[in-house]
């Protein structure tokens, strides 16, 4: 049975209210007649035999790579890097695909007598994963085998003793990556390619790089010229990473890339209705919606957040490709697009989106206002190829409580960014020039990044740059149901109802605007023609 493709629904009198995410809860919203609703494709059929598919991919690599088992030599040093806790979202039901792949790789390595093996979480400037998160991603068998011998490591972008400067690209970009990975006889990188931005040369060039290196593409200029960064052929972010990746390969770093794709089966049975089209809701779905939404709304924030973060997605593997980086990634992109892409005719004046409880940087944590901004204008806005779903000068309406709540353990620099930077300016270029270096080099943030579970001091800046293209493009942003003070701090306008928000948007885009709602998650990407 093939899954149904995504499609664009035009709201008419018979259209039932539409589900709208609102942080750790959701609600039903009636959109004006003529509103387009972009529904994601249904989850693709998973691979019937994931372990068989993994074995097949490892032994039949693409591009110039040789089968993995032929790359192993007794006495060699093997480093297996893997994506961190920011993928997938929400965390998937066990076994995590990283566990399946890494177990297969380790079995092959063991069979070949390779025992000098390290596992490295490719954190870039993200927070260190907790033991629970590592166990979940790798499985307890791998975790318990590697941790006592200090062979399960987390990349430290601030450890000068374990970084190596590989020189610069022809554009002068510093390439500095994890020394252990760079000097290994073989570096295997295990990806989860949830969206088209992930993978390719970005895996090593960003995931295992230092701040000195990452700053060459994580900056305002690059992000404004990444239209979108989900479309690598029009993304300066990717161009820079590709230059770095090729440079890394040219320096003799031998990389065997493994990329995996998942379907969009995002919610477990209890929350099945979240993935369904509203007119297809059964009585059971309606009951589940009412019971869960009322309960979540009545719960204190910490409790509803905790409940939602306990969701484990029943994602299933739909594809795995291994081998040479670029050849692998080309196949991966096709697979991701085939799952997520929906053709949309023409741009819209107003784009609405309901933001869920989780984004890449608040797994098991609070989605603070800067992450709300980033998820909306960095991620959801950029879920396009071709041209943005919303026209230039258009308005984005975000549904989220947007409270000024922060996790001091995970996001310490975010608090200071919110208090000490956003009170001065919201202009990305000004923020970059006036404040970035000071935060990036703050010894306390570096200490917490290296020894605690904190995002790097510069990370909130990257979140802000992530939305720079959208800020450049849009005429306004309205946060529906957002805390007024926090919303204004972001430079946005608060609105209490959708109708109010649309009326406010009209003052920017004019009367009789076209409206499009991005019905996500599950993930959907627009190909605007």
């Amino acid at each position: 049975m093939t899954s149904r493709p995504g499609f664009v629904l035009e709201v008419d009198r018979s259209t039932p209210p539409t589900l709208l995410w609102h942080g750790s809860s959701y609600r039903l919203e009636k959109f004006p007649k003529g509103t387009r609703i972009l529904y994601p494709p249904e989850p693709q059929e998973p691979l019937v035999d994931p372990r068989g598919a993994i074995e097949d991919a490892l032994e039949n690599p693409v591009g110039t790579s040789q089968p993995l088992s032929t790359l192993f030599k007794k006495g060699m040093t093997l480093v297996i890097a893997f994506d961190d806790v920011s993928l997938p979202l929400p965390q998937m039901q066990a076994p995590d695909v990283r566990q399946l792949v890494i177990e297969a790789v380790l079995e092959k390595a063991a069979a070949a007598g390779v025992d000098d093996v390290y596992l490295v979480a490719a954190l870039a400037l993200h927070r260190r994963m907790t033991e629970g998160e590592l166990r979940h991603a790798l499985g307890s068998r791998v975790y318990d085998a590697f941790t006592p011998r200090k062979r399960l490591l987390q990349h430290d972008a601030e450890d000068p003793s374990n970084l190596v400067d590989l020189g610069t690209t022809d554009q002068g970009e510093v390439v500095e990556i994890n020394k252990l990975a760079a000097e290994a006889d073989l570096l295997i990188y295990v990806n989860i390619n949830l969206v088209s931005m992930d993978g390719g040369h970005k895996s090593v060039a960003t995931g295992l790089a230092s701040y000195r290196s990452i700053r060459h593409h994580h900056n305002v200029k690059t992000m404004v010229h990444s239209r979108s960064f989900m479309d690598m052929h029009h993304s300066e972010l990717h161009s820079s990473n590709w230059r770095m990746g090729r440079h890394i390969a040219a320096q003799g770093v031998k990389i065997f890339q493994i990329e995996t794709t998942l379907n969009t089966d995002t919610f477990p049975k209890l929350f099945d209705f979240l993935s369904k089209r509203e007119w297809e809701w059964t009585l059971k779905d309606r009951s589940a919606f009412i019971a869960s939404s009322k309960s979540l709304q009545a719960s204190p924030d910490w409790l509803s957040r905790d409940i939602m973060h306990k969701i484990r997605s029943p994602y299933k593997l739909t594809g795995i490709t291994a081998g040479e980086v670029e050849a692998v990634h080309a196949r991966t992109l096709n697979k991701v697009f085939s799952q997520q892409l929906v053709t949309v005719e023409g741009q819209t004046d107003i784009l609405t989106m309901g933001l869920p409880f989780v984004g890449p940087y608040n797994v098991n944590s609070i989605m603070n206002p800067i992450l709300v901004y980033c998820l909306a204008l960095g991620y959801f806005f950029n879920m396009y190829v071709g041209k943005p779903l919303v026209r230039e000068g258009g308005v984005v309406i975000i549904s989220h409580p947007n409270k000024a709540e922060f996790d001091p353990a995970f996001h310490p620099s975010y608090i200071d960014f919110y208090e000490q930077v956003l009170t001065e300016t919201t202009n990305p270029a000004e923020i970059e020039s006036r404040f970035e270096e000071s935060f990036a080099t703050d010894p306390w943030y570096i200490h917490l990044y290296r020894n605690g579970n904190a995002y790097h001091g510069v990370h909130p800046f990257y979140m802000w740059y992530w939305g720079a293209h959208a800020l450049d493009h849009l005429g306004g942003v309205i946060v529906l149901g957002g805390d007024p003070k926090a919303t204004r701090r972001l430079g946005f306008q608060p609105a209490s109802t959708m109708m109010d928000a649309i009326e406010m948007a009209k003052s920017i885009v004019g009367d009789d605007p076209s409206i499009t709602h991005l019905h996500s998650p599950p993930l959907v990407m627009a190909e605007v023609i």
């Binding site: 200071d416 208090e419 000490q420 703050d442 010894p443 306390w444 200490h447």
Partner: protein, 418 residues
């Protein structure tokens, strides 16, 4: 003459105290302050002059007294009934000279031989505030012999009157006294040239402290905790380098000095914090936000506070009060940017210069022209509205509220020229 008078009336004082938190209006209604027809104060000695106030400020300590929320510490140091008002610009009755009032009632006004502090120019520490030619009272405005600024006439000793130039407006002039207090706080605090400094609170005292710090130490990096929009705008106008939210002082200290932090412990922090609020919360935050070995200066009048002094002990913080004004001494190199030589009280002793704080305040006011901080003026008759406005100042877009005694009846709302 008409005068606002506070009498020692226990029932009314208790009523004012109880009602103050709920309603300033009710507290005033049932409190000890009343507008009365009274005889002008008698001239104590021939060295005293009659002064007719033009503008008279409402100070935080006045409010605390009127609303009976002040500590009882001052009770033995005042004499009832008294007319409040110690921030005064007025004219002398005889020569019609425009003067500002140095309100402190120290040895000289009291006809006493200078005590050990007054002899050193440190009148703020005077030993004689309860003895001499006038009744007890730390300042005019708390003494039943002298009257006070919230009336049509008071008496002041010649030594307390500072003639002012015509180019200082009445509005500038009435702020000379509180500016002198702020300058005293700044001048008595050792602030390295490029120090990082915080001022907590941006009411009149806080803003004048900002002005004073920047006047004496233009190069310091100054953060100001300001709550209300008008306070934030004013702080920036006065030279604040950064605005900080009420709850953000500790984090701001950490960021500014790139300190390490564990809980409330900071490895570094502001060199100096001037606390112009005086509450338990503000003093606690100030102590936590200053660097180890740093100094917290209590500028505003504090009252009963409950503070965890563990960080003060552990981090060897100095907590120091500053009160009123006296004589300030500076290393010559630190005030090269100021031309003190023309001031009458200026004394050059080689490496050090000293100057009366009031003289310094007059010089500073000529440059700073801070009269714009007066946002509201009321006639005496409208004292309930005036005091209510002053009590809610920042939240009601007010900074400094004064009584305007230049006309018999004038209800003029000050223009906010921010």
């Amino acid at each position: 003459m008409r005068s606002l008078v506070i009498e020692k009336h226990l029932r009314r004082m208790v009523s004012a105290k109880i009602l103050a938190d709920a309603s300033v209006k009710r507290s005033l209604q049932w409190g000890p302050l009343a507008l009365k027809e009274v005889d002008p104060p008698k001239i104590p000695t021939s060295d005293w002059l009659r002064v007719q106030p033009l503008l008279s400020g409402i100070c935080g300590s006045d409010l605390a007294t009127v609303l009976a929320s002040a500590t009882r510490y001052f009770e033995p140091l005042v004499s009832f009934p008294f007319t409040p008002g110690h921030e005064v610009v007025g004219v002398t009755s005889e020569t019609k000279t425009r003067v500002v009032l140095e309100a402190a009632l120290t040895c000289i006004p009291r006809g006493r031989k200078p005590c050990r502090y007054c002899a050193l120019g440190q009148g703020q520490l005077c030993e004689s505030v309860t003895v001499g030619d006038v009744k007890q009272g730390i300042q005019i405005g708390y003494c039943s012999s002298t009257g006070g600024g919230w009336s049509q006439e008071l008496v002041a000793h010649r030594s307390q009157l500072w003639p002012i130039d015509e180019h200082l407006s009445d509005e500038d002039a009435v702020l000379v006294e509180p500016l002198a207090c702020a300058l005293h706080a700044a001048a008595t605090t050792k602030v390295p040239k490029h120090a990082v400094v915080a001022v907590v609170g941006a009411g009149t005292v806080g803003l004048l402290t900002v002005a004073a710090i920047k006047y004496l130490n233009p190069h310091v990096n100054l953060a100001v905790v300001a709550k209300h929009p008008i306070q934030r705008e004013s702080a920036l106008k006065l030279g604040a380098n950064k605005l900080v939210g009420q709850e953000e002082l500790g984090r701001s200290a950490r960021r500014t000095t790139k300190a390490f932090q564990n809980g409330d412990w900071l490895s570094n922090g502001y060199d100096v914090v001037f606390d112009c609020v005086g509450s338990s919360a503000s003093l606690s935050n100030s102590i936590k936000s200053v660097k180890p070995g740093g100094e917290v200066v209590a500028v505003g009048m504090p009252s009963y506070t409950g503070i965890d002094l563990t960080p003060l002990w552990h981090r060897e913080i100095n907590l120091r009060g500053t009160y009123a004004y006296g004589t300030e001494s500076f290393p010559k190199t630190s005030v090269e940017h100021l031309d003190l030589s023309k001031q009458v009280s200026h004394i050059d002793t080689g490496d050090t210069v000293s100057i009366r704080t009031f003289d310094l305040a007059l010089l500073a006011m000529e440059k700073l022209k801070l009269g714009w901080l007066i946002t509201h003026k009321f006639p005496l008759e409208n004292y309930p509205q005036a005091l209510e406005k002053a009590a809610h100042s920042g939240s009601q877009d007010a900074i400094k509220v004064v009584f305007d005694l230049r006309k018999a009846k004038s209800t003029s709302k000050g223009t906010n020229d921010l």
